[in-house]
Amino acid sequence: MIRFDHVHKEYPDGTIAVDDFTLEVPSHEVVVLLGSSGCGKTTLMRMVNRMVDPSSGSVSIDGDDVAHSDPVKLRRSIGYVMQSGGLLPHRTVVDNIATVPLLLGATRRSAHARASELLDLVGLEQSVAKRYPSQLSGGQRQRIGVARALASDPNILLMDEPFGAVDPVVRAELQRELLHLQNELAKTILFVTHDVDEAFLLGQQVLVLRTGAEVAQHGSPANILLDPADDFVANFIGGPRRHLRTEMRDGRHIVVDAAGHVTGVLQDDRGAAG
């Protein structure tokens, strides 16, 4: 369980990135922070592993204030996946995955064995093990990023727009796999994205944030979709794109948004009939 308690962050240059934020992330759940660029998502996430220290307020893990823990040890105990992958370009894939176990003092052999397991877990072939990150596709790199974050079997995973840089087909695949993985591993995941579909797909709880990490709405995906708290949220989650109606075309029911654009095909007429 991660708890943010009246957290506030002002950067040295005067930017107020987070202004009084409170949240509890229950263990074994995925909580998504959803908001547009610069609203403070990354800042919030980095407070958990002390890459950023709050100006006031506190962040605690299972009741222990992280401010009292050694940052290096803390970071080794938390998995972190970044948009850029954050892989070390001068280490092979297997060495990248094994980074944290090695830092924690595992033998090279056992760390590499663990890395092999993880390659399987994230659905990569063993043959990529000896390659360098630049020799991989974007989707492969992100999988390695996930594998690395899982290497020391942390309870907490921080994922900062981990799929933001890959193309939509691969992204959809990665999202499905993450859901699958989470079914198995049941980590506590704090997930940051600005993609509404991704947030609703992955999050058990979603927080829609405004600038300064102000919470515009907090709830389940269906909850937010059905009852946007205000115009900001309604607009953010798609506005007219979410207001659907069905039409008959070529003898089939299709779903059309408020602007008249087709978004899908109705599978089941019974459902449509309510």
Binding site: M82, S84, P89, Q135
Partner: protein, 218 residues
């Protein structure tokens, strides 16, 4: 070009080349050893950078001859001690490398160092395991420049009586003998090429990912 002269004097040519190599190797190592920590410091601290980078530039403006001559006075070494040359050449090497190394560390980028920190490297580990290896390629390029310029500067030592291929310059000049000077020039360039090859090979061994990465780009 009088090849008979070259053949007759091969012994001396090799001896002078060896002397040349001996005074060159240490400065190249030392400048790397000194410039890297200075550059790391300058890279991390704006105020340090503001002082260190311009100072290293000034070193570069030192004319070599007076430096060679005056160092014994400053260091209290003997007049013909090769140490004078070593110190002077190290100063030039440092002057050349500091800026390159600062740029190299800058190019590693905050983001990647930040990422390394975020996954649990201690600051010291960030330097040794991430920043230094990633700064490797530009540092290697800088070392190649230092090596070439050191080998070329050593010969100025001939003017203060330190044996090197530079001997052939002053002696050939006094005798009006182009072949002899040419031997010195070519010898210096050959040594530079050999040093360069060694540095490049060392670089390949130490920085294996560079080539792997390059191949992809074609």
């Amino acid at each position: 070009m009088r090849f008979d002269w070259v053949a007759d004097n091969m012994g001396q040519i090799l001896m002078m080349s060896w002397a040349h190599v001996q005074v060159s190797v240490l400065p190249i190592f030392l400048s790397l050893l000194i410039a890297v920590p200075i550059a790391w410091w300058a890279h991390r601290q704006k105020s340090a950078r503001r002082v260190l980078v311009p100072i290293s530039g000034v070193l570069y403006a030192l004319p070599s001859l007076p430096l060679f001559v005056l160092l014994p006075v400053v260091l209290g070494t003997r007049i013909l001690d090769p140490l004078n040359l070593v110190v002077a050449l190290t100063l030039y090497g440092v002057a050349l490398l500091v800026r390159t190394a600062v740029d190299a560390f800058d190019s590693v980028g905050r983001i990647i160092r930040d990422d390394a920190l975020a996954i649990g490297h201690s600051p010291r580990q960030v330097f040794w395991r991430v920043a230094l290896p990633l700064a490797g390629p530009p540092l290697l390029a800088g070392t190649r420049v230092v090596s070439a310029s050191t080998l070329s500067l050593v010969s100025v030592g001939a003017l203060i009586g330190v044996p090197s291929l530079g001997y052939f310059f002053t002696n050939g000049y006094q005798r009006g003998f182009p072949t002899e000077i040419m031997v010195g020039v070519i010898g210096t360039v050959v040594l530079a090429v050999i040093f360069d090859v060694i540095i490049v090979v060392a670089g390949r061994l130490l920085l294996p990912w560079v080539r792997a990465t390059d191949r992809r780009r074609g």
